[in-house]
């Protein structure tokens, strides 16, 4: 489904994204409106999710974990739901669109520089492209481009191929045949969300902490 509003095309990926945003907002509001010191079952569950994400982030970036937690946690939560949403009949994963994965990859790319500059300042941050030798500057620049492109293509390729494989098996083998593929879809969706978020976390932590290591040296 594609809606064209004064030149702005709103396709199914955007609509699904809005739906996911609405569900997450309602879920967040419902689960956090009455937080207590001694939690119930639901509060324990959501606190467990946040605590697990927080621990994973602090394990990689112990000094700036809380600073990048909203971005990384949102990536993980959104990607898990976005990757799994295609299990609902009639819906498709937004991440099977290259535009969506590219947008997320670009956000990661921009966040890396944003948090790097915010942490160390522009001059020091740009200086790290010249370390350990200015000769490596082109390689740094190529690396920045390629890893962003890899993020986008990896997620897009995996999710799109999963959906397409399930569709082809459904067409060829019948109604119940794609169930193993759907189970593989769940695992693959979780793995891809984890990989995307973990790579983003590593990139961010590298940008924020490599300067500190250089300064300490």
């Amino acid at each position: 489904m594609v809606i064209d509003v004064t030149g702005i095309v709103i396709d199914s990926a955007i609509l699904t994204t809005w739906g996911i945003m609405a569900v997450l907002s309602i879920f967040a509001w419902l689960t956090t409106r009455r937080l207590e010191l001694f939690p119930g079952a639901i509060q324990t569950c959501v606190e467990g999710i946040i605590a697990a994400i927080d621990e994973a982030i602090l394990a990689v970036a112990p000094d700036h974990g809380r600073q990048i937690l909203p971005f990384i946690a949102s990536l993980w939560i959104f990607l898990i739901i976005a990757n799994l949403v295609s299990l609902i009949p009639g819906l498709h994963s937004p991440t099977r669109e290259i535009s969506v994965t590219s947008a997320l990859a670009v956000l990661v790319f921009l966040s890396v520089h944003w948090f790097g500059i915010k942490t160390h300042g522009l001059k020091k941050y740009l200086h790290h492209y010249l370390t350990p030798s200015p000769i490596l500057l082109p390689f740094h620049l190529i690396s920045e481009f390629t890893r962003t492109l890899a993020l986008a293509i990896r997620l897009f390729g995996n999710i799109m191929s999963l959906e397409m494989a399930a569709m082809l098996i459904l067409l060829v083998a019948g109604f119940l045949a794609p169930i193993p593929i759907l189970m593989l879809h769940i695992i693959e969706a979780l793995v891809q969300a984890y990989i995307f978020g973990m790579l983003a976390l590593i990139y961010l932590a590298g940008a924020m902490q490599s300067q500190q290591l250089n300064a300490q040296e």
Binding site: I14, T17, S25, F71, E97, A103
Partner: protein
């Protein structure tokens, strides 16, 4: 599958909005409550640590107090043991003294009783000896012996004590003084006459004689003269010997 700029831009905006929403509604409150709980737990741990330290201090104090109590108890026990030992020694000494005293008393009582038994036995032996002597003498005595004893009495009449003579002379009966003369055998008339003459001379008053036979006297006379009794017979002599021996042994 194609790249769509609108989708790309809208997705960036959507994700930024999602981050903002989740940060406001999800992360911040949850992290706040987690931090609050951590503070609460830390405070509880700190309180528990303080309580533990206080408990350790109290335990240390109590252990020291128990040690001091143990030492006091040991000292008190030692003092008590010493006091008990002294008391035991004193009591034992006192008991031994009392026992020795009782032993001595019993010994003395036993000796006294033994002495009394011996005296009683001696007295019985003397009585038996007197009785045996009397039995032995009875078959051997004769009226001649008795006459001889009477003659002996008459001969020794003057050797009576002066107090006896004085007492006899001071008697002033209103009528004749009755005098009873007992003998083991019948007296001859001459002997009776001699006795009457001697007695009248002794008393210096009229007298009235009466004679009787008493075989227990064995041989000899017994004269009952008022409050006086004059014995000149073997039975009295034997009793007198026994009493004399008894008196000499008692001394």
């Amino acid at each position: 599958m194609e790249f769509n700029v609108s989708t790309f831009v809208l997705e960036i905006i959507n994700f930024l909005i999602l981050i903002w929403i989740l940060q406001r509604l999800f992360y911040k409150p949850l992290l706040a409550v987690i931090a609050k709980r951590k503070d609460f737990i830390n405070q509880a741990l700190a309180d528990a640590e303080n309580l533990k330290l206080q408990a350790e201090t109290l335990r240390h104090d109590y252990e020291n107090r128990l040690k001091s109590w143990e030492q006091e108890k040991q000292s008190a026990m030692q003092a008590l043991q010493a006091q008990l030992s002294i008391e035991k020694t004193t009591q034992m000494q006192r008991f031994q003294d009392e026992l020795e005293q009782a032993r001595q008393s019993a010994k003395a009582a036993q000796a006294l009783q033994q002495h009394q038994w011996e005296q009683q036995l001696e007295r019985q032996a003397l009585q038996n000896a007197t009785r045996f002597a009397a039995l032995l003498l009875k078959p051997t005595v004769t009226p001649e012996l008795e006459a001889h004893l009477c003659q002996l009495l008459l001969e020794q009449w003057s050797s009576l004590p002066e107090a006896c003579h004085t007492s006899f002379k001071n008697m002033k009966p209103k009528e004749a003084l009755p005098i009873k003369i007992s003998s083991a055998f019948p007296l001859t008339e001459n002997l009776q006459k001699s006795l009457q003459n001697q007695l009248e001379a002794l008393v210096a008053h009229p007298i009235k004689l009466s004679f009787s036979i008493e075989p227990d006297l064995i041989a000899g006379l017994r004269i009952d003269l008022g409050a006086w009794v004059l014995n000149a017979n073997l039975q009295h002599e034997l009793v007198g010997f026994a009493e004399l021996v008894d008196a000499s042994q008692s001394q």
